[in-house]
Symmetry: C2
């Protein structure tokens, strides 16, 4: 059984301040937890129902992880899910490690993406299209927010993130960079030549798009062609369409 | 001031049964309401704060619509938004009208899309890519759900929907149809030839994809190429990537 202090600790991890203080975060639900166990994240504690332990027994036996049994009722009182009849894991956050693209590689750059669902979706899309690095502005929503983890559907275990001042990041380069960004009056992505040397694809804030400050680093202004009446596309949709066009041209 | 009965009526419209009974639904927030006013939907009542009426005075003066003034506090107690300091409209639903593609036209077909946010996003994507018809299975979530309307960002005013048994719908055709559907082992959408004669693009349920029953009507099995580790894409993302590839080949 979980102690009162454990319950208090687990529920404190819904708040960024406590995640940073304890260097821990929550991963909820069977699919995400199974991907977590199979990743290079350190699992502090797995809290699971008897049903989950039975169903995933052969997987669990492969990992040496501290386990606490709970009823579905007890589990549902923990974490962010309305109901949870499977499991929840406490995992250790990773140090914020500097990331740069290597030759031929593309990375996403997020200029203040604020919605946790959007960040999770962006990680999932990056993962689908074989993009393993996401550079986040300091005001981009926290990776370890439960909604980000849930929306990423396990992709947070494969895609690396690096939070930094984007100005400092781009200013740190002395060689010319290849930086794509979407604007209203750019070149159609159907006509753009995605450079084989790789580079960065910037995605902007939900309300304001790419800021002027960060837009100044863009070397290739592109546009997703519009054929109807909608004013805009969601940032996740825009990212997917950009990545799809890039991969169609360049392959893996 | 709104009467108790009006408030009760408005809040009843959060439930499908009452929307159907009253043939009415809610549209919330400035952007969606402005698009509603400019559409062929009939507006029963506009409920707006003084601030909204001031800011949108010149637009409002163009329409002959019953108007009720409320404070932001009163407005926030109506409808589905947590807070609402602008407006809410009660509009009349439309009859469920039969839709078919005409020559050269593509339409989306939704096989039990259950999440309201996803349906709204799909309407927005269809709208962006100039697709004006969406055929929905009977178990697809209700168009007039507030979350669908909100997520569509006004696109519900431009994209027509038709709810029907998809089996009956496809069985009603005597000529051969062009029906695309995504499957794990289809032709890459980078290699598919989208037919100029138009047709249907089927999108499946969030958990189960396209059902076997409806899959049997698919004439072109396609796949969105994957380059990384994510297991799947969200239905909205898949729709956008399909539509983008279709438009890139065929144009408007």
């Amino acid at each position: 059984m979980l102690s009162k202090n454990q319950i208090k600790y687990i529920n404190s991890l819904s708040i960024k301040k406590y995640r940073q203080q304890h260097k821990s975060f929550l991963v909820e639900g069977a699919k995400s937890v199974v991907e977590l166990l199979d990743s290079d994240f350190t699992v502090e504690l797995l809290i699971a129902t008897a049903e989950f332990q039975q169903k995933y027994g052969s997987i669990l036996s492969k990992y040496d992880v501290a386990l606490e049994s709970v009823t579905p009722d007890e589990l549902s009182r923990l974490g962010s899910f309305q109901t949870n009849d499977s499991c929840l894991a406490i995992a250790k956050t990773k140090e914020n490690q500097i990331l740069h693209v290597t030759d031929g590689e593309y990375a996403l750059v997020l200029d203040d993406v604020r919605d946790p669902g959007n960040l999770g979706t962006l990680l999932r899309i990056a993962d689908w299209y074989g993009i393993n690095k996401v550079i986040c502005s300091e005001n981009t929503t926290d990776l370890y927010n439960s909604k980000v983890i849930a929306a990423s559907k396990g992709s947070f275990t494969r895609v690396k993130t690096y939070y930094t001042s984007l100005e400092d990041f781009f200013n740190g380069y002395t060689k010319p960079l290849n930086v794509l960004g979407t604007f209203l009056n750019g070149t159609s992505i159907y006509d753009v030549t995605f450079e084989k040397k790789g580079g960065y694809i910037i995605l902007g804030n939900e309300a304001n798009g790419i800021s002027d400050k960060i837009g100044s680093y863009v070397t290739q202004r592109v546009t997703i062609p519009r054929f109807g009446g909608a004013e805009s596309l969601n940032v996740g949709i825009a990212a997917a369409v950009l990545c799809d066009n890039m991969r169609r041209q360049l392959g893996a």
